[in-house]
């Protein structure tokens, strides 16, 4: 995984004024199979079926490996399906979190904690982290094999602001330190929009994003991260 911070100076659509700190990141991933496998392992480790002792782990491992091979190959061959979109969003979320941790020293809320939402398939934010400034950052991930769904990611955030984010606080509570909690009470928080990048020019993509209506809403809060993820 290759993570590149984009210098705001190179982006001419960065909104001027306001208190929102905006950061843009470009990620390229060559081998996403380990990410899929991590998710798979997590599902397995927690499922009741795994606790039934007579089912052969060996046969099962072989079957899931075949399943994962198919998913990985399909994504590479750009064959679209609901399953690929679903795992794609996980890959985007995973990559975005890594970037936030490495480039911006965020503390991550483990993706595993989101399994409950994944299991029900209910809509909600896809990843969470706490920034250096003790702001809780709600992350949205959108995946596509052939387009760049940055608009969908940003629109989704706007739709969730003040509703989903508040309802998620309940289960996020145990991961939050006092400062972050205090900031939340003061309605200080951040958002991250991660999305597949299938355009040729990253700067154009980011400028278009920055210039869009949803961003005007989001920058009313404290931090915004735009994360473009390329699978290659």
């Amino acid at each position: 995984m290759n993570i590149t911070k984009i210098d705001n100076a190179g982006l001419n659509k960065i909104p001027i004024g306001g208190c929102c700190e905006i950061n843009c990141i470009h990620i390229t991933i060559k081998d996403f199979r380990p990410i899929v496998e991590e998710f798979e392992k997590h599902i397995l480790d927690t499922s009741w079926i795994n606790k039934l002792d007579e089912l052969s782990q060996k046969t099962f491992k072989a079957t899931t490996q075949k399943t994962i091979d198919k998913i990985v190959n399909d994504i590479i061959a750009k064959i679209s399906s609901n399953v690929n979109t679903d795992i794609g969003e996980f890959i985007i979320s995973y990559a975005a979190q890594q970037a936030l941790e490495i480039e911006h020293s965020h503390t991550l809320i483990p993706l595993a904690e989101l399994l409950k939402e994944k299991v029900s398939g209910n809509p909600g934010f896809d990843y969470h982290s706490i920034s250096k400034n003790s702001y809780l950052v709600f992350g949205e991930a959108k995946f596509s094999l052939d387009s760049t769904p940055r608009a969908r990611a940003l629109e989704q955030i706007v739709e969730f602001i003040g509703d989903r984010d508040n309802s998620e606080l309940l289960w996020l509570q145990p991961f939050l330190d006092n400062n972050t909690k205090k900031n939340i009470i003061d309605d200080k928080k951040g958002y991250a929009a991660a999305f597949s990048h299938n355009n040729t020019d990253i700067i154009t993509t980011l400028n278009n994003a920055l210039d869009s209506d949803p961003v005007k809403e989001i920058i009313k809060f404290n931090e915004l991260y735009l994360i473009a993820v390329e699978l290659c």
Binding site: I43, S47, I49, L52, L55, S56, T67, L115, V119, S120
Partner: protein, 779 residues
């Protein structure tokens, strides 16, 4: 859970996430969650559909899933694929785990709730077993159900019988015997001739049932000793300690046990009082119940659903249920569907009620409206027709007693528990209740479809119901065989001792001490009197001949039979009640021996009890204008039914005096035909088959051994088999009933243990598909 949140317009995300995540981690084990899901589906049908595909994956119901739509579903689908490649079957995880354990261990005991799919697991096991299979079941009703299913399942070179006889040897590849523990004795007599590969002990909680439990336990010990390395599987409804079956007998050879608590169907609970219906939750009720706006039972019936109403046998016998449930009965119009009518016709043929205005059968009247009655005194064959009728979705309402609890596979949309009396100790009561409500909610095969049913109880029983539902049952880790049982009933001392000491004579079906007592009793005079007077030309009297005998002679015959029966008991005298039962059973036995069908026997008994001769004469007098119509009606209504004592299992010294089948003041015109059906079947089943035939025919065999009087052997055969004809006896050993033998016997050339050789006339006979099916295993 019952909470305001359930009735919201939208499904609460948090709530459903919680449930689905719990199912992911723990499987569908939480009744509270299953209840909540049922409510969510009921009140938010459309929004719930979004969750149903993944719910099916999470519940492991892989036969109801479609293509996975998310990564999570893909992983679950990988489980499904693994199961297929590991087991070769499209099993649920529970079925697969049990299947693999059965394959792996010599002794495997497990428990699983109703609808866990035990039957399908067994079916697949049976299909792939090459050697002989013994299936031990607690009731004959269940045996009949298994017989029908298994015969359809296996190829025709598999012999399927409800007792152990090694017959049809030439044409048999392997054998499946489906028997009660009582009939398992023959297993050890024939064990050398068999190639037993698998022993299934289904509903093994029978081990807890008094003397039957002891017989079962004794069988388990013997098979552990004599068939130590044969695969054995014990199954139970949900209990906490299936390993108790091993602890009871110190079985240690390659054992494993498993508790499966995963369910497949959700349930909504409703309480009822004075025609008011109210939702309640036995698990978590956060709103103190919620009234229903309409009568749920009526709604279900009107919407083509099915209802099971669990009531007491007395309510059925007294017909009081008709009035109590009249508004539901009224909702069921007369059936016109030809397919449905076929079952009714079949039942009418069997009972002989067709076009007979004298035989008013409520059973038939109701069935014509899609309402059935199901209890233990309905003849087994009739019960099977009724069960088929229900399973074919021709019935709307079923009134049933406890016979339905054990195993019989008839699910309904709603189960209404009117009668809250359950038998056994507290653990058994809990098990029985759970088994009963296990009938609520049909498991459909429909993809992406969560199934749920309703359980309806009377408000007065809510507390006890909730208590029992939330309690887990266990079985005892010690066998009754090892308990110092203080039997205050002397009638059972022999059998208990014989089971404990393994001194039961399977040939004579008597205990050693009983045989000894018969040998010591001086019965020679009685038996020779019977042989001289009860037999004529080496066959028993007909009922007509029996009633032509002088009263004194008939009394002497009765007395002789009484003494022959009493000889094996510890006491010298039968109670008055017992004597009455025995006496009433004699003509029924004779009718059976004469080859009368059940319809004929009940018709004859009906004629006798309703004074048909008197009625006929009276009609003649009316026709001849000797009496007026008023006088005719008056005389008819004043004529009372004849006395007949109800059937009762023998011995039963508590049955002191005779209990009349009909109230003594019942007029012949008010006689209920159904009571004759039920009582006659009880006589054939409980009295003759299970109580009287063995001791009397064995007494005759013992007399033959002593005296060499071949007539004793002949009468013994008549009593035991209903015939002395060797071909007929062989046909019985091949599993045919008398009704079947009657249509078959003309086509038999030769029959022995090796095969049946048919005459060429059989070719015509088998052009009828039903006839072909009857003998396909033997040609």
């Amino acid at each position: 859970m019952l909470s305001e949140i359930i009735f919201n317009e939208k499904i609460d995300h948090e709530l459903i996430s919680e449930i689905l995540f719990d199912f992911h981690k723990n499987g569908p084990v939480d009744n509270n969650h299953l209840e909540t899901l049922s409510y969510l589906k009921k009140f938010n049908f459309r929004s719930f559909q979004i969750y149903e595909p993944r719910l099916m994956f999470l519940m492991g119901l892989f036969y109801k899933t479609k293509e996975p739509n998310s990564f999570l579903e893909t992983i679950y689908n990988a489980y499904a694929e693994t199961i297929i490649s590991e087991t070769g079957h499209n099993f649920t995880p529970v079925q697969a785990d049990a299947y693999l354990s059965i394959k792996k261990y010599t002794n495997f005991s497990f428990s699983a709730p109703t609808s866990a799919g035990k039957s399908f697991l067994f079916q697949e096991l049976i299909k792939e077993t090459q050697g002989d299979i013994i299936i031990i079941l607690p009731s004959r009703a269940l045996i009949s159900e298994y017989l029908i299913k298994i015969k359809k399942l296996v190829s025709k070179d598999t012999l399927v019988l409800q007792f152990i006889e090694v017959v049809n040897i030439k044409r048999t590849k392997n054998r499946i015997y489906i028997i009660t523990p009582e009939r398992a004795e023959e297993l050890f007599k024939n064990v050398e001739k068999l190639n037993v590969e698998l022993i299934l002990l289904d509903e093994a909680q029978i081990s807890e049932e008094g003397i039957r439990g002891m017989k079962f336990d004794s069988l388990v010990r013997r098979i552990d000793k004599k068939l130590n390395n044969i695969k054995k599987v014990f199954t139970h409804p949900f209990i906490l300690n299936p390993e108790a079956q091993f602890q009871k007998h110190n079985i240690t050879n390659d054992i494993d046990s498993e508790i499966y608590n995963q369910k497949t169907v959700g349930k909504i609970y409703i309480e009822h009082s004075k025609r008011k219906f109210k939702y309640f939750s036995p698990f978590q009720d956060m709103m103190g119940g919620e009234n229903l706006e309409s009568d749920i039972v009526k709604d279900i019936i009107r919407n083509d659903g099915t209802a099971l109403i669990y009531i007491s046998k007395s309510k059925i016998y007294e017909n009081s249920f008709i009035e109590s449930y009249s508004e539901y009965i009224e909702l069921c119009p007369e059936i016109t569907n030809k397919e449905s009518l076929k079952y009714i016709e079949k039942l009418e043929d069997f009972l002989g009620t067709k076009n007979d205005t004298e035989k008013n059968s409520m059973l038939i009247y109701l069935m014509k409206r899609g309402i059935v009655i199901h209890h233990g005194s309905i003849p087994l064959k009739a019960r099977l027709i009724i069960e088929d009728f229900v399973n074919g979705r021709h019935a709307k309402v079923c009134f049933s007693t406890s016979t339905l609890i054990q195993g019989i596979n008839m699910p309904f949309d709603i189960v209404w528990i009117d009668n809250f009396t359950f038998s056994g100790n507290e653990d058994q009561k809990t098990l029985n209740l759970k088994n009963l409500i296990g009938r609520a909610g049909r498991v459909t095969q429909e993809d992406n479809h969560f199934d749920y049913g309703y359980v309806l109880i009377e408000s007065k029983n809510k507390k006890l119901f909730t208590l029992r539902l939330n309690k887990e049952s266990s079985i005892s880790p010690t066998s009754n065989l090892d308990n110092k049982t203080d039997l205050n009933n002397e009638d059972f001392i022999d059998i208990v001792e014989a089971i404990k000491n393994d001194t039961f004579d399977s040939e004579l079906q008597l205990t050693e001490s009983q045989i000894l007592r018969i040998e010591k009793a001086d019965l020679d005079d009685e038996i020779s009197f019977i042989l001289d007077n009860f037999l004529s030309d080496d066959r028993p009297l007909t009922v007509k001949e029996y009633y032509v005998l002088k009263d004194s002679k008939r009394r002497k015959i009765k007395k002789a039979f009484e003494n022959m029966y009493t000889a094996h008991l510890r006491r010298a005298e039968l109670t008055n009640g017992e004597k009455n039962v025995l006496s009433t059973s004699i003509p029924i036995l004779l009718w059976q021996i004469q080859g009368k069908s059940f319809a004929e026997i009940i018709s004859l008994r009906h004629a006798f009890l309703s004074e048909k001769d008197f009625r006929r004469k009276l009609s003649r007098r009316l026709r001849n204008k000797e009496i007026s119509i008023t006088n005719y009606n008056k005389q008819l209504s004043e004529k009372k039914v004849r006395f007949s004592c109800i059937a009762e299992s023998l011995p039963n010294k508590g049955f002191r005096t005779a209990v009349p089948l009909f109230n003594r003041n019942t007029s012949v015109v008010d006689l209920e035909f159904d009571k004759i059906i039920y009582d006659t079947y009880d006589y054939i089943d409980k009295v003759l088959s299970l109580s009287v035939k063995d001791p009397i025919s064995s007494t005759l065999i013992l007399y033959f051994k002593k005296s060499n009087d071949v007539r004793a052997l002949i009468l013994s055969n008549y009593i035991k088999y209903g015939t002395n004809d060797p071909t007929e006896i062989w046909l019985l050993k091949y599993g045919f009933s008398f009704e079947e033998i009657e249509i078959l016997i003309d086509h038999i050339e030769k029959i022995d243990e090796n095969e049946i050789l048919f005459k060429s006339s059989v070719n015509d006979f088998i052009s009828d598909l039903d006839n072909y099916r009857l003998i396909e295993r033997y040609i």
